[in-house]
């Protein structure tokens, strides 16, 4: 992690009202004909951030990124980069570089020439160009492949060439469209760390598009979750995971058990929700700003639910019971699907703390599920 971020006194820029955003996206809408690909998006991204745009296929992530790069013009709204309005500035005049989803390496040029291409456009001296190219190839560990053509490289090596080509220009803002999409899991994880390291060393502001939530959680300083052209929530990985504001976000990030209910009792510092499908009363240890009698939802993550064969001491609240329907052993954790008496299936994960447990829960066991009053997230929409 960044030196600054390790420091206790570090104030994230997005919590500082005086901080000037580096990229300011204001009410940007992009239409293709009648189709709205990006819908009224406003977003601030700060210097040195590694911002992830996360969303399902076709939700408008690439379109938003392409507007930052200058390949598409917003139908309405404006984009400011470092305080400068980007409207009408062509891609070749923006201090922005992009790494393409398909890498877009020039097939007729060697690795070296691909990386040097951007520098040559700046009319730098020859030895300056070759020095920076060599440094960059060293950084992405491709020095020995300098003379090869892209088709003689593996997928992972190509991806690193694309990264080097975008980085060597030392842009103020680097846009990466699904940078790790083509890599296998191992290489992906390794490259994710390389990316974070690189970002720390170069101090470039990154905007990364991905549809892989795990990747977003690993990489990002903040995540913007998109759905159908809109930004539905912006926050740190923790905020997005632990404090989703909508059912869509709770559902999209990780897995979640969603219970529908109504408020039966409330005060400033607690709320009791009667949840029909959970077949119990859910007690939440904070107040909720909801109209009485309105429908709301409680989201509980599988790892926050305890599972046991004996009922807990206080089974009056936050406790329900059901039959184990399915068990998936994942090595580090086990996943239980428990069918409640009302028919709803609840997902529970438990770490496998012991290599061999005497009293393991098996299929068809009657089990009790219970959770802490702080575990449930109340969602109004």
């Amino acid at each position: 992690m960044n030196e600054a971020r390790r420091n206790d006194k570090y104030v994230p820029p997005w919590t500082d009202p005086k901080a000037e955003p580096y990229v300011r996206i204001e009410k940007v809408t992009k239409k293709f004909g009648d189709f709205v690909a990006v819908d009224d998006v406003s977003l601030n991204i700060y210097k040195n951030e590694l911002f992830c745009l996360l969303g399902g296929s076709g939700c408008g992530k690439s379109t938003l990124l392409r507007m930052l790069a200058g390949f598409e013009q917003p139908t309405s709204g404006s984009i400011y980069l470092d305080g400068v309005d980007m409207a009408g500035i062509p891609p070749y005049n923006r201090p922005v570089n992009m790494m393409f989803q398909s890498y877009a390496l020039f097939p007729h040029m060697s690795v070296e020439d691909n990386v040097a291409f951007g520098l040559k456009q700046e009319r730098l001296a020859k030895n300056e160009v070759s020095k920076r190219v060599n440094d960059m190839l060293g950084l992405v560990q491709l020095a020995q492949f300098a003379k090869r053509k892209p088709h003689q490289l593996s997928g992972g090596q190509r991806q690193r060439v694309a990264l080097a080509r975008a980085l060597v220009k030392q842009p103020k803002l680097l846009l990466l469209d699904e940078p790790l999409g083509a890599l296998d899991k191992k290489l992906r994880e390794q490259t994710q760390f390389e990316l974070v390291n690189l970002q720390d060393r170069t101090g470039v502001t990154f905007v990364v598009v991905t549809h892989d939530q795990e990747e977003a959680m690993t990489l990002a300083s903040r995540i913007g979750v998109m759905n159908q052209g809109r930004i539905v929530q912006v926050g740190t990985p923790t905020e997005i995971y632990e404090f989703p504001t909508t059912r869509f976000v709770a559902d999209f990030i990780g897995s979640v058990n969603m219970f529908e209910g109504r408020i039966v009792d409330e005060d400033n510092d607690f709320v009791r929700i009667g949840a029909e499908d959970a077949r119990c009363t859910i007690f939440i240890n904070h107040g909720v700003a909801a109209a009485p009698n309105s429908t709301l939802w409680v989201a509980i993550r599988p790892e926050k639910v305890n599972i046991s064969r004996e009922p807990p001491p206080d089974a009056s609240e936050n406790c329900t019971t059901g039959i184990v329907q399915d068990i998936a052993y994942m090595g580090d954790v086990s996943i239980f699907n428990v069918k409640l008496d009302g028919g709803k299936v609840v997902k529970v994960t438990q770490p496998n703390l012991f290599r061999h447990a005497e009293e393991t829960i098996t299929w068809e066991d009657r089990v009790y599920l219970h959770w802490h009053p702080a575990s449930g997230v109340v969602l109004l929409q």
Binding site: P90, M98, A104, F106, P107, F117, Q121, E122, H151, K169
Partner: protein, 334 residues
């Protein structure tokens, strides 16, 4: 369509004849024959594959050998007008008489050299003009919307629906002294007397460029159309202006198409006879015309054959360059 630039000539012919061959092997007499042949140890597949090679053997190699044979004969006033190569001496010695006089003649007589060089020049200039006209056309077609693309491609190949000769004659009507161009210019008062265009090198170039343009446009279109446009976006993104991006990305990536188009225009243009005969003056010195004159006017079959063989040898060089590029390209594509 996209294959044009990438498939070597022999394979391309093989592709053309494969459907025909398939139909052919279904016929009962052919099937019977195939069964008999396969009993001798040949498979049906190898027979189907061999059809284009048999075709090439019959209609290219055999005529070539005949022409080669005649080129080593002597001209005589007889029917046919050349001597035989093989003969008997004393009814027991088989003799082979190779007469290289025809070759020496065409090497020594400057007429042939000049005709060769002029043909090369005309073909080279025509190829260049075709490239200059054809590249923007192909580029434009490849970059329009798919619906327009098909319409424009249709327009490019539409002339093939009428006879080649007819189209060349049409140019006479356009270019002659009281032709369309001169009439329009004179009636507009731009010129007083007609511009002489017919029977000039200009008319020959117009004819060749017009006739061979589709052969340039098609392979160029094929390479430009399949180009990945994100490469251009990547170039812009790295600070490259559109025109420079064209020079550094689009142009180098279309080299296979340029080479294929140039070969398809240059090779037939060297031996072109009809266009210089109809549009060029009597002084137009091109090897195709010389060949025609030797063959039909002088009845000098051996000399004409030697000229034909010489053209072939000279053209083998550009064809080899062509094949070399294709091989390299196929390598790079892997």
């Amino acid at each position: 369509m996209t294959r044009i630039a990438y498939v070597p000539l022999g394979h391309r012919l093989a592709h053309m004849f494969e459907p025909l061959a398939r139909q052919l092997v279904r016929l009962p007499p052919v099937r019977w024959l195939l069964t008999q042949v396969s009993r001798l140890g040949f498979s049906g597949k190898s027979l189907v594959i061999s059809v284009p090679y048999v075709w090439l053997l019959l209609f290219f190699l055999v005529p070539f050998v005949i022409v080669l044979k005649i080129s080593f004969a002597e001209q005589v006033v007889a029917q046919p007008p050349y001597t035989a190569l093989l003969g008997w001496v004393d009814e027991k010695f088989l003799t082979l008489k190779l007469n290289i006089a025809n070759y020496l003649f065409i090497v020594r007589d400057s007429l042939y050299w000049k005709a060769y060089l002029n043909s090369m020049k005309v073909a080279a200039i025509s190829t260049l003009l075709c490239l200059l006209v054809g590249y923007p056309m192909a580029y434009g077609i490849a970059r329009t919307s798919p619906a327009w693309r098909n319409v424009l491609l249709m327009l490019v190949i539409l002339p093939f629906w009428t006879s080649f000769l007819l189209r060349v004659y049409a140019w006479i009507g356009i270019l002659k002294n009281n032709g369309i161009i001169n009439n329009i210019l004179m009636s507009l008062g731009i010129i007083d007397s007609p511009i002489v265009m017919m029977q000039t090198p200009f008319a020959v170039y117009v004819g060749i460029v017009y006739s061979y343009l589709p052969f340039m446009v098609m392979p160029l279109y094929a390479t430009l159309e399949k180009m990945d446009l994100t490469l251009l976006e990547a170039a812009y993104d790295l600070g490259c202006r559109p025109f420079k991006a064209f020079l550094r990305i689009t142009l180098p990536l279309s080299i296979p198409g340029i080479v294929a188009g140039c070969m398809l225009v240059f090779i037939p243009a060297v031996g072109e006879f009809v266009i210089p005969e109809l549009l060029g003056g009597p002084n137009t010195l091109m090897i195709g015309k010389v060949l025609w004159d030797e063959f039909f006017s002088n009845r000098a079959w051996p000399v004409a054959s030697a000229v034909a063989i010489a053209i072939l040898l000279l053209l083998v060089i550009p064809i080899m360059i062509f094949q070399h590029y294709q091989a390299r390209d196929a390598e790079a594509g892997r």
